[in-house]
Subunit: 357 residues, 4 copies
């Protein structure tokens, strides 16, 4: 099941070392200017091979729009986008053909499907997230037209947390760090792990500004629940928090409730969501990435005949998936918000009459 969303829906396809990967974005309203350069620039933010903190695999990640756009404007029909793989080195994967890499989906794909495309993890590779970023870029174009902004940055790496939140700074940081002050320590942690043939985890922070009140369709399409689904669907994510998040479980109600005055909410422990519906405050979420499972130290595992094996991985891998993962989290957030914007159009008769009468 490779589709996401109810009304603004995207479907992705493709494997790490297959011919191509891509997406079909369905439900994009007609009349939206589709800025191809912007879509490409979003892909460029995520693309591998840009510096020492990311995998050495270089992919152009050049996106091509196949449908749904006429003279630069969306027509209301599905927008298909394709990214051809150009820099696969399938032979890198010959040595893992018959074994299951610890921390990877090799084991589960093999036993679920009875067959697996072992080249770079096939479909389970984080390479699939390029297609999400392409789809997310279309969502962002719609949000921008409505004055809504989605931002992201790396909040923590290897337990080194930001003290200040500066999304502008994050844009130019080589590791998308949200805090200039801790950035160097975060970089050192990455490089140290890399030198030790190990990897580190990290945390992404995503914020939505100017979302209207009313997004989210309770009870089973709540905004926070859909965001949690979206985030947990990203490779290597093991935890999701909204607003105060898990810390709220140690607070008193009198501390955690956000008082309201005539200007709106005075604090934002809720992360902008109450009862599964946006309340007009910033929507804040934190996304926890485990360390990249692909490490080059020797590990204990089994092969497809269940014989025990000691092995060392080869190939090209990110020492910290949270960095590029933050862009994916931002994209997925945009996709959820876009979907909720469309679903919310039907919340009450006043809106419906405004359109039809």
């Amino acid at each position: 099941l490779n589709s996401f969303g109810k009304k603004f829906i995207f479907t992705t396809f493709g494997e790490s070392h297959g011919k191509a990967l891509g997406c079909v974005v369905d439900g994009v309203p007609a009349g939206l200017k589709i800025d191809e350069a912007f879509i490409q620039s979003e892909l460029d933010r995520r693309k591998p091979g840009q510096n020492e903190f990311a995998t050495a695999r270089k992919e152009g990640d050049s996106v091509e729009i196949l449908s749904g756009v006429f003279e630069g404007i969306s027509t209301g029909t599905p927008i298909a986008m394709v990214i051809f793989n150009t820099n696969q080195k399938s032979k890198d994967y010959g040595n893992i053909k018959d074994i299951f890499r610890p921390g990877h989906a090799d084991f589960t794909y093999f036993y679920k499907y009875g067959i697996r495309d072992y080249r770079g993890g096939g479909r389970s590779s984080a390479r699939e997230t390029a297609a999400r970023v392409a789809a997310g870029a279309v969502a962002k174009l719609m949000l921008k037209d409505l004055g809504i902004e989605v931002k992201s940055g790396v909040f923590a790496i290897d337990g080194i947390e930001a003290k200040n939140i500066d999304f502008e700074y994050a844009k130019s940081s080589a590791i998308y760090s949200i805090d200039k002050v801790v950035e160097d320590r975060q970089k050192e942690a990455i490089l140290k792990a890399k030198n030790e043939h190990d990897s580190v985890g990290g945390v992404a922070f995503v914020k939505v500004k100017n979302a209207p009140i009313g997004l989210g369709e309770p009870i089973y399409n709540k905004l926070d629940a859909r965001l949690a689904d979206a985030m947990m669907s990203i490779n290597a994510v093991k935890g999701v928090e909204i607003g105060e998040g898990s810390d709220s479980s140690s607070l008193k109600g009198s501390q955690n409730n956000d008082p309201i005055n005539s200007q709106g909410f005075i604090s934002n422990h809720s992360g902008g969501i109450l009862g599964g519906i946006s309340n007009g405050s910033d929507i804040d979420l934190k996304v926890y990435f485990k360390p990249t499972p692909s490490i080059f130290q020797s590990q204990q595992t089994v092969d497809i005949k269940n014989a025990e094996v000691e092995f060392s991985l080869k190939g090209r891998h990110d020492p910290c998936v949270a960095i590029r993962g933050s862009i994916v989290a931002e994209s997925m957030t945009a996709l959820v918000v876009a979907d909720m914007l469309l679903l919310n159009l039907a919340s009450n008769m006043d809106k419906i009459k405004k359109i039809y009468l």
Copy 2:
């Protein structure tokens, strides 16, 4: 949007102080013995008014099956269940008719829908979760038939965490505490907050034992993503973690990867899920509940005309929603696993041929 699931689907309806609430469980395979007493016993675990740690509102929560069962056996048709509300005191809510309680969905429902059923929060009340527990009980009956077990307990309250995990003990604990040793301190924290007209947060722990390998439909119906969606849809939940969860973001790959030997996985940092698919280990999740927003201290808010108001809540409320919330988390987990079991039937041709040829 009040339905959840793709193949084992449930829909809930009903408000806190309406006539009734209930659910329709669709996709239940035929031939399952439907043990009504068990369903009722599950509801009894969640029901309010049982001791000093829960709201004083007493609800019989008596469930009635309206359809889908013939001579005690499921027929493959939808199982509708209804719980009539018996102990509503709508007049308790007269004083909040025109104001928005901080931390509640009052504000967002009003602005989204333009109308709200203010009696006890209407649809946004945690009372809705009774319907989930009824649906979850049916899911559990199916899981039991397949040898799969779902357990839960309260892991932490007000920051006081369990050191030992004992699901058996949790069953008889008045606060479903998973650790006898810290239970008393957790109870004290609840009562202290209650006496101060305040509330506390908490954490639930849910475990699935004996789930087969292969549950989860990547990329956009991953087992962990669906669990995250399910958990975050529960009232007051602000964070969800799988396995090592957010702590994994501070670990190295060499620490977090689970080595494999011929018996299976040696450790379980992954929480039983790799690439969105169950790997045969226990499925572990933690669910973080914020403190009950309903506190009796004076709070600052606005009314529906946006005039600022100082007010104190009346009525009957849980001082800690995580306690009964743990049962809901357990139920939702069962429902997700049931859905995944059915979806996974079609994962490869061998299974399909086993059925049809």
Copy 3:
């Protein structure tokens, strides 16, 4: 899978001789006046036992709203409705407990599910359509608010076709005949079949007036395709036509195309739908019902052990299901149109900006 619709969604439950049947209508916009008396009056149009042309089974079909309505107004939450069965005579069905009635779902339910509720056909009984009519009545309330009208009548019985179309007349006709002139011949055909312990087929005609241009979400949620699905889901329906329908297959393009002038379409061979989208003309459909399979003549069949049996049915049955079926077809049409109205809100950015900016 007992839900229908994408945004205005209803789910039905219940069996012919179970405790109750009902529906949950989800996605109803808030702020709609819910006229219970109207809903009941719609059920009364469909209810059995009203005259010699219908089954003698008398059901009050009294509907009760359980949720989703506050002070007479929809709140945007699911509207659950229940109809308790009162006049079941399960013993009537003792003699068919172990045999498969020709033309019925007995055979297929038994082999699909391995168990069946044989009492009156259980879930496969046309009694389930009462729940559709309740849901359809809510849809009609919404359509009425937007100036849209859905009408129906019986076009043909036993091959005797209407020459004139008069929906007003149909309302008061005992067989909902759309043509006063042929009505008596149609009635005679029914009574003749009834006397011969046989049954007759018939055709319903449904028309939607004042539907806006733009309903239908191509390619796979076209208005005509969804109507075809809706109609074919009704018990005993074996054919569906839009506009000129099957006759159009014998026409030339020059005859079948509808010319357009500045007032709109000059003719309406298309039945108001082009490319799966409403064009502003009346939406016209014809629905073909097979003769009731429940006849009292001796028939050849097998029992659940596949032994051959000669048997004669007992009980109470409609001699012509098309009559009450026309009301169901009308209801289903209203439900499809309501769904399409909500989906169409997001068709272009102009509408979306009108709501959010």
Copy 4:
């Protein structure tokens, strides 16, 4: 909304004169041999420009698989296929840029979306059905593995109906005629219309052989209802019938019921479906196509400013869409049956235990 199916799901994209069209087939079980040559051969059956009875537009319709297949075998991940458009002559459409062709979707797309890709009808073109045929070919590969066969042929053209049904003959007929005896008259009717710058309608017949008992998920995913949806979603279809179809409305119950003996059903008026579930007999459906709206005679219409215009169409068009439409109907039928096969895996606990225990 450009996806179809619940478990075996396909999504199509692309416009008549855009860069490419294609599909993503999701839910294909792993372990299926994907025979690319077969997929291409199916596309070749549908492709235009093959003889005087079809449009002169020549398209190679060369299909390329981008994902989901590894070493010739499906992996359980989405199979994306793309067909690049090679023979567009957009300039042919300059003269219809601003006018609405009668019988076409020009008018409805323009008013729904506020923008339209006028080149060859854009997304509303029957060219989109090439993507369905590619998806349908994958479905057929799965059906073939389970011993199920789907066949089609042209039953009638311009009212000239087949007397004999010979699917083998249809394969080699230039107009896929199912009856050698009437074929010449059908051909003449087409050519006569073509010479008169007109077009003719037609009827396709589709048959499924060896479908197991049990396909179809009542109440709102009945096999016949899904087939009706699928057929009516095909360009130019205005009527759908199952088995005896509309003729059954003129029959008596004693004529229309299919008696059963220990070998199965003695007759097949039902078209192989009872209660929305397959009964083991052949599944028979008839699909009615209107005459191609694209005719070269002068027609009356309006332009996008609603000014009245007299115009004559230019370009390349099928004189009878039913011919190539029959292949599309066959493909859609295969897709529905594939979906139902997967959904039916979960119908009862016996099957589920066979997989998991």
